[in-house]
Amino acid sequence: RSDMDSHHNSEVGTFLSSLVQRVSGVQAALVSDRDGVVLAKAVHPDHTSSHIINVDDSLATTFAIATDQASKFTQGKNKSVTAFYQDRVLVHISVSPLVVTIIASAASANVGLLLALAPEVNTALAGLAKELNDQEDRVHL
């Protein structure tokens, strides 16, 4: 991963920053692999307290397992999982093999908008996802 195409990585970083700024209530957005290794992250300037920045790695693995299981509902493949907590909303979007995690304030987040942006998230991350999948294929050859 250290020799990741920096072009894709910076595009993703820019995309995440714009997401955090233009959707109300979003506190942080990050892209990681299924093990929680962060590839890119954007945090809203108002939310630089440590509990936001240090998004636990386990969140990505929680989603990685959940999305695989949810794909067995006989409703086809799972695209995203949204969790509403008392104070926060957690949106996980699958762009295999990547996990996009969006954390927002329960009070001000427009979750409908976030979910409507999922296709845009998929498009923005398609390049990086393909890069990772191609690398996986090369490793296995």
């Binding site: 240090n54 397992i65 299981q69 509902f73 409703q75 799972n78 969790a83 509403f84």
Partner: protein, 131 residues
């Protein structure tokens, strides 16, 4: 409607009334509704046979997200699953889980609203079951 009066006026919950109540949510793209224990065992359901497959998985994922680090442990209120051909909404009702499944024409807002209404109606009767 007589069904709701029946649930609230008796001190013993008539378990067979539960599927009838759940059935009332199964309109406008809702394919099935169910009540399950947090260990995944199905208490009641109405709709297609999706229920049994979904129940065990849902309970597992609920526990996983409910104990997720940094999100406010045990403060999970709703889970929404967006799948290629349908959507599932889960919420807690008393000590159990309520799950509403819809096809891809059922909007999340509607599923969430139905789950909330069912939960509000069933909160008291389900408390009797938990005792």
């Amino acid at each position: 409607p007589p069904i709701f009066a029946c649930v609230h006026s008796t001190s013993m919950l008539k378990a067979k009334v539960l599927p009838q109540i759940l059935e009332q949510a199964n309109t406008n793209g809702v394919s099935c509704s169910m009540i399950l224990q947090q260990d995944g065992s199905l208490l009641a359901f109405a709709g297609n046979s999706l229920a049994k497959t979904v129940a065990a998985i849902v309970a597992n994922v609920w526990t996983s997200y409910n104990t997720a680090v940094g999100m406010g442990e045990h403060s999970l209120e709703y889970l929404l699953f967006d799948n290629a051909e349908g959507r599932v909404v889960v919420t807690k009702a008393s000590k159990m889980l309520l799950c509403v499944c819809g096809d891809d024409k059922a909007e999340f807002g509607m599923l969430k609203a139905k789950a909330a209404v069912l939960r509000d109606y069933l909160e008291e009767p389900l408390k009797l079951l938990s005792k």
